[in-house]
Protein backbone atom coordinates (compact mmCIF):
# COMPACT_ATOMS: atom_id res chain seq x y z
CA UNK A 1 0.00 0.00 0.00
CA UNK A 2 1.40 3.41 -0.88
CA UNK A 3 2.43 5.72 1.91
CA UNK A 4 -0.40 7.70 3.45
CA UNK A 5 1.90 9.93 5.47
CA UNK A 6 -0.05 12.91 6.70
CA UNK A 7 0.96 16.32 5.41
CA UNK A 8 0.36 19.56 7.33
CA UNK A 9 -2.88 21.36 6.57
CA UNK A 10 -4.74 24.42 7.84
CA UNK A 11 -5.05 24.83 11.61
CA UNK A 12 -7.99 22.82 13.01
CA UNK A 13 -8.31 20.80 9.81
CA UNK A 14 -7.21 17.22 10.34
CA UNK A 15 -8.75 15.79 7.17
CA UNK A 16 -5.23 15.13 5.81
CA UNK A 17 -4.85 12.44 8.47
CA UNK A 18 -8.12 10.71 7.63
CA UNK A 19 -6.63 8.24 5.17
CA UNK A 20 -3.85 7.34 7.58
CA UNK A 21 -6.27 6.84 10.47
CA UNK A 22 -8.56 4.78 8.22
CA UNK A 23 -5.62 2.53 7.32
CA UNK A 24 -4.78 2.08 11.00
CA UNK A 25 -8.38 1.13 11.71
CA UNK A 26 -8.21 -1.45 8.96
CA UNK A 27 -5.11 -2.97 10.55
CA UNK A 28 -2.93 -2.10 7.60
CA UNK A 29 0.64 -3.30 8.27
CA UNK A 30 2.22 -0.46 6.29
CA UNK A 31 0.27 2.07 8.33
CA UNK A 32 1.44 0.54 11.62
CA UNK A 33 5.02 0.50 10.41
CA UNK A 34 4.66 4.16 9.52
CA UNK A 35 3.09 4.89 12.90
CA UNK A 36 6.06 3.33 14.65
CA UNK A 37 8.57 5.16 12.50
CA UNK A 38 6.85 8.49 13.05
CA UNK A 39 6.13 8.25 16.75
CA UNK A 40 8.14 5.62 18.63
CA UNK A 41 11.14 7.86 19.34
CA UNK A 42 8.94 10.77 20.31
CA UNK A 43 6.73 8.64 22.57
CA UNK A 44 9.77 7.03 24.19
CA UNK A 45 11.35 10.40 24.99
CA UNK A 46 8.06 11.73 26.30
CA UNK A 47 7.58 8.60 28.40
CA UNK A 48 11.13 8.91 29.73
CA UNK A 49 10.55 12.54 30.66
CA UNK A 50 7.43 11.49 32.53
CA UNK A 51 8.89 8.44 34.28
CA UNK A 52 12.62 9.31 34.47
CA UNK A 53 13.74 5.71 33.99
CA UNK A 54 14.28 3.39 31.04
CA UNK A 55 12.28 0.40 32.25
CA UNK A 56 9.16 2.43 32.97
CA UNK A 57 9.52 4.35 29.71
CA UNK A 58 9.70 1.06 27.83
CA UNK A 59 6.57 -0.20 29.53
CA UNK A 60 4.73 3.03 28.76
CA UNK A 61 5.71 2.90 25.07
CA UNK A 62 4.44 -0.66 24.78
CA UNK A 63 1.17 0.25 26.48
CA UNK A 64 0.71 3.33 24.31
CA UNK A 65 1.04 1.49 21.02
CA UNK A 66 -1.19 -1.30 22.30
CA UNK A 67 -3.82 1.28 23.25
CA UNK A 68 -3.53 2.99 19.88
CA UNK A 69 -4.17 -0.34 18.18
CA UNK A 70 -7.09 -1.22 20.41
CA UNK A 71 -8.69 2.21 20.58
CA UNK A 72 -8.02 3.80 17.20
CA UNK A 73 -11.70 3.24 16.49
CA UNK A 74 -12.50 5.72 19.26
CA UNK A 75 -10.35 8.47 17.78
CA UNK A 76 -12.80 10.88 16.18
CA UNK A 77 -10.42 13.14 14.26
CA UNK A 78 -11.46 16.30 16.13
CA UNK A 79 -7.84 16.89 17.06
CA UNK A 80 -4.51 16.01 15.49
CA UNK A 81 -3.56 12.36 15.81
CA UNK A 82 -0.39 13.45 17.58
CA UNK A 83 -2.45 15.27 20.24
CA UNK A 84 -4.43 12.11 20.87
CA UNK A 85 -1.21 10.10 21.12
CA UNK A 86 0.21 12.64 23.60
CA UNK A 87 -2.91 12.21 25.69
CA UNK A 88 -2.65 8.43 25.63
CA UNK A 89 1.04 8.65 26.57
CA UNK A 90 0.48 11.04 29.47
CA UNK A 91 -2.30 8.91 30.91
CA UNK A 92 -0.37 5.67 30.45
CA UNK A 93 2.57 7.20 32.32
CA UNK A 94 0.34 8.52 35.09
CA UNK A 95 -1.26 5.11 35.60
CA UNK A 96 2.13 3.44 35.82
CA UNK A 97 3.58 6.04 38.16
CA UNK A 98 0.61 5.93 40.49
CA UNK A 99 0.85 2.15 40.58
CA UNK A 100 4.57 2.22 41.35
CA UNK A 101 4.27 5.20 43.70
CA UNK A 102 7.86 6.12 42.86
CA UNK A 103 7.59 9.72 43.98
CA UNK A 104 10.23 10.45 46.56
CA UNK A 105 8.92 13.85 47.59
CA UNK A 106 8.61 14.16 51.33
CA UNK A 107 8.40 17.98 51.57
CA UNK A 108 5.06 19.64 51.04
CA UNK A 109 5.05 21.66 47.85
CA UNK A 110 3.74 24.59 49.87
CA UNK A 111 7.21 24.67 51.40
CA UNK A 112 8.57 25.62 47.99
CA UNK A 113 7.41 29.17 48.66
CA UNK A 114 9.31 31.41 51.09
CA UNK A 115 7.78 32.34 54.42
CA UNK A 116 5.97 35.64 54.52
CA UNK A 117 5.29 38.30 57.11
CA UNK A 118 1.77 39.49 57.76
CA UNK A 119 2.25 42.41 55.40
CA UNK A 120 3.12 40.07 52.56
CA UNK A 121 6.86 40.72 52.45
CA UNK A 122 9.15 37.70 52.44
CA UNK A 123 10.34 36.90 55.98
CA UNK A 124 13.90 36.34 54.79
CA UNK A 125 15.66 37.43 51.65
CA UNK A 126 16.55 34.51 49.41
CA UNK A 127 19.92 34.69 47.69
CA UNK A 128 20.00 35.73 44.06
CA UNK A 129 21.25 33.17 41.58
CA UNK A 130 24.41 33.33 39.55
CA UNK A 131 23.85 33.78 35.83
CA UNK A 132 23.19 30.43 34.18
CA UNK A 133 25.99 28.97 32.11
CA UNK A 134 25.28 28.09 28.50
CA UNK A 135 23.17 24.95 28.63
CA UNK A 136 25.64 23.22 26.33
CA UNK A 137 28.31 23.37 29.01
CA UNK A 138 26.34 22.32 32.07
CA UNK A 139 28.50 20.04 34.19
CA UNK A 140 27.54 16.44 34.79
CA UNK A 141 26.98 17.31 38.44
CA UNK A 142 24.45 19.96 37.47
CA UNK A 143 22.75 17.67 34.96
CA UNK A 144 22.52 14.99 37.64
CA UNK A 145 20.98 17.51 40.00
CA UNK A 146 18.43 18.57 37.40
CA UNK A 147 17.67 14.93 36.68
CA UNK A 148 17.16 14.20 40.37
CA UNK A 149 14.98 17.27 40.90
CA UNK A 150 12.78 16.37 37.92
CA UNK A 151 12.46 12.81 39.19
CA UNK A 152 11.39 13.99 42.62
CA UNK A 153 8.43 15.94 41.36
CA UNK A 154 5.13 14.18 42.07
CA UNK A 155 3.95 12.56 38.81
CA UNK A 156 0.92 14.84 38.47
CA UNK A 157 3.14 17.92 38.58
CA UNK A 158 5.95 16.45 36.51
CA UNK A 159 3.66 15.52 33.63
CA UNK A 160 2.19 19.02 33.51
CA UNK A 161 5.70 20.55 33.58
CA UNK A 162 6.83 18.30 30.74
CA UNK A 163 3.79 19.00 28.58
CA UNK A 164 3.82 22.76 29.19
CA UNK A 165 7.43 23.81 29.57
CA UNK A 166 9.21 21.14 27.56
CA UNK A 167 6.68 20.12 24.90
CA UNK A 168 5.29 23.66 24.63
CA UNK A 169 1.62 22.73 24.82
CA UNK A 170 -0.84 25.40 25.90
CA UNK A 171 -2.73 25.30 29.20
CA UNK A 172 -5.87 24.39 27.28
CA UNK A 173 -4.17 21.54 25.39
CA UNK A 174 -2.71 20.11 28.60
CA UNK A 175 -6.07 20.44 30.35
CA UNK A 176 -7.74 18.49 27.58
CA UNK A 177 -5.00 15.86 27.47
CA UNK A 178 -5.15 15.23 31.21
CA UNK A 179 -8.87 15.87 31.74
CA UNK A 180 -8.14 18.74 34.11
CA UNK A 181 -9.40 22.27 34.42
CA UNK A 182 -7.11 24.99 33.11
CA UNK A 183 -6.90 26.34 36.66
CA UNK A 184 -5.62 22.95 37.87
CA UNK A 185 -3.04 22.86 35.09
CA UNK A 186 -1.78 26.32 36.01
CA UNK A 187 -1.65 25.46 39.71
CA UNK A 188 0.30 22.24 39.13
CA UNK A 189 2.66 23.94 36.70
CA UNK A 190 3.43 26.73 39.15
CA UNK A 191 4.05 24.27 41.96
CA UNK A 192 6.32 22.17 39.74
CA UNK A 193 8.34 25.24 38.78
CA UNK A 194 8.59 26.42 42.39
CA UNK A 195 9.70 22.99 43.49
CA UNK A 196 12.39 22.81 40.82
CA UNK A 197 13.54 26.29 41.82
CA UNK A 198 13.89 25.27 45.44
CA UNK A 199 15.68 22.00 44.63
CA UNK A 200 18.14 23.66 42.26
CA UNK A 201 18.82 26.74 44.40
CA UNK A 202 21.78 25.24 46.32
CA UNK A 203 23.55 24.67 42.99
CA UNK A 204 23.01 28.17 41.61
CA UNK A 205 22.62 30.58 44.53
CA UNK A 206 25.25 33.25 44.91
CA UNK A 207 27.30 32.33 47.93
CA UNK A 208 27.72 35.02 50.59
Amino acid sequence: MSSTKAQPAAAGDYSHEAAFVAALRQGDADAYEQLLEQFEEKIYKLAFRFTRNTADAEEVVQNVFLQIFRKIGEFQGNSALSSWIYRVTANAALMLLRKNKNSKVTDSLEDALPEYLEDGHAATREPAWNPLPDERVLSQQVLDRIDAAAGELPPEYRIVFVLRDIEGMSNEEVAEALNLSVAAVKSRLHRARLYLRKQLAPEFEKKA
Binding site: Y116, L132, L143, I146, R193, L196
Partner: protein
Protein backbone atom coordinates in the same frame (compact mmCIF):
# COMPACT_ATOMS: atom_id res chain seq x y z
CA UNK B 1 -10.23 28.30 28.50
CA UNK B 2 -12.05 30.44 25.95
CA UNK B 3 -11.67 34.18 25.57
CA UNK B 4 -14.49 34.94 28.01
CA UNK B 5 -12.94 32.70 30.68
CA UNK B 6 -9.56 34.35 30.20
CA UNK B 7 -11.11 37.78 30.59
CA UNK B 8 -12.92 36.65 33.72
CA UNK B 9 -9.72 35.32 35.23
CA UNK B 10 -7.85 38.50 34.33
CA UNK B 11 -10.65 40.55 35.90
CA UNK B 12 -10.38 38.50 39.10
CA UNK B 13 -6.65 39.18 39.30
CA UNK B 14 -7.18 42.89 38.61
CA UNK B 15 -9.97 43.04 41.20
CA UNK B 16 -7.62 41.56 43.76
CA UNK B 17 -5.33 44.57 43.36
CA UNK B 18 -8.06 47.20 43.09
CA UNK B 19 -7.32 48.71 46.47
CA UNK B 20 -3.69 47.85 47.00
CA UNK B 21 -0.51 47.11 45.14
CA UNK B 22 0.49 43.44 45.07
CA UNK B 23 2.57 42.24 48.00
CA UNK B 24 5.64 40.06 47.55
CA UNK B 25 3.59 37.03 48.56
CA UNK B 26 0.93 37.80 45.97
CA UNK B 27 3.59 38.32 43.34
CA UNK B 28 5.13 34.94 44.12
CA UNK B 29 1.79 33.15 44.18
CA UNK B 30 0.78 34.57 40.80
CA UNK B 31 4.23 34.54 39.23
CA UNK B 32 3.32 31.86 36.67
CA UNK B 33 0.66 34.17 35.23
CA UNK B 34 3.20 36.97 34.87
CA UNK B 35 5.89 34.76 33.33
CA UNK B 36 3.42 33.20 30.89
CA UNK B 37 1.96 36.55 29.85
CA UNK B 38 -1.48 35.80 31.23
CA UNK B 39 -2.08 38.93 33.26
CA UNK B 40 -4.20 41.73 31.86
CA UNK B 41 -2.54 45.02 31.08
CA UNK B 42 -3.35 46.63 34.42
CA UNK B 43 -2.08 43.73 36.54
CA UNK B 44 0.99 43.44 34.32
CA UNK B 45 1.80 47.10 35.02
CA UNK B 46 1.33 46.60 38.77
CA UNK B 47 3.71 43.65 38.68
CA UNK B 48 6.24 45.64 36.64
CA UNK B 49 6.01 48.52 39.14
CA UNK B 50 6.61 46.11 41.99
CA UNK B 51 9.65 44.66 40.26
CA UNK B 52 10.99 48.21 39.72
CA UNK B 53 10.96 48.71 43.48
CA UNK B 54 11.61 45.26 44.95
CA UNK B 55 15.02 43.72 44.24
CA UNK B 56 14.27 40.52 46.21
CA UNK B 57 11.26 39.88 43.97
CA UNK B 58 13.39 40.49 40.89
CA UNK B 59 15.83 37.90 42.20
CA UNK B 60 12.93 35.52 42.80
CA UNK B 61 11.59 36.10 39.29
CA UNK B 62 14.99 35.50 37.69
CA UNK B 63 15.55 32.32 39.69
CA UNK B 64 12.03 31.11 38.78
CA UNK B 65 12.76 31.67 35.09
CA UNK B 66 16.14 30.01 35.45
CA UNK B 67 14.56 26.95 37.09
CA UNK B 68 12.19 26.59 34.14
CA UNK B 69 15.10 26.82 31.73
CA UNK B 70 17.10 24.27 33.70
CA UNK B 71 14.16 21.90 33.98
CA UNK B 72 14.12 21.71 30.20
CA UNK B 73 17.73 20.48 30.29
CA UNK B 74 16.94 17.27 32.19
CA UNK B 75 18.79 14.55 30.26
CA UNK B 76 16.62 12.52 27.90
CA UNK B 77 18.33 9.61 26.18
CA UNK B 78 17.62 8.37 22.68
CA UNK B 79 15.44 5.29 22.43
CA UNK B 80 17.77 2.28 22.80
CA UNK B 81 17.81 -0.15 19.89
CA UNK B 82 17.02 -3.04 22.18
CA UNK B 83 13.84 -1.24 23.34
CA UNK B 84 12.89 -0.61 19.73
CA UNK B 85 13.38 -4.28 18.92
CA UNK B 86 11.53 -5.50 22.00
CA UNK B 87 8.66 -3.15 21.21
CA UNK B 88 8.09 -4.77 17.83
CA UNK B 89 8.14 -8.24 19.32
CA UNK B 90 5.69 -7.17 22.01
CA UNK B 91 3.31 -5.62 19.50
CA UNK B 92 3.38 -8.66 17.21
CA UNK B 93 2.61 -10.89 20.18
CA UNK B 94 -0.46 -8.76 20.81
CA UNK B 95 -1.68 -9.05 17.26
CA UNK B 96 -0.55 -5.72 15.86
CA UNK B 97 0.23 -6.17 12.18
CA UNK B 98 3.86 -5.37 11.57
CA UNK B 99 6.06 -6.60 8.81
CA UNK B 100 8.90 -8.89 9.77
CA UNK B 101 12.20 -7.49 8.57
Amino acid sequence: MDKDEKMQEAAQVAKRFKNHDPTCEEIHRLLNNYVDGELDEKAQKLFDLHFNMCTPCVDFLESYRAAIKLGKCAPTPEMPEVVRHTLRGFLREHGIPLKKK
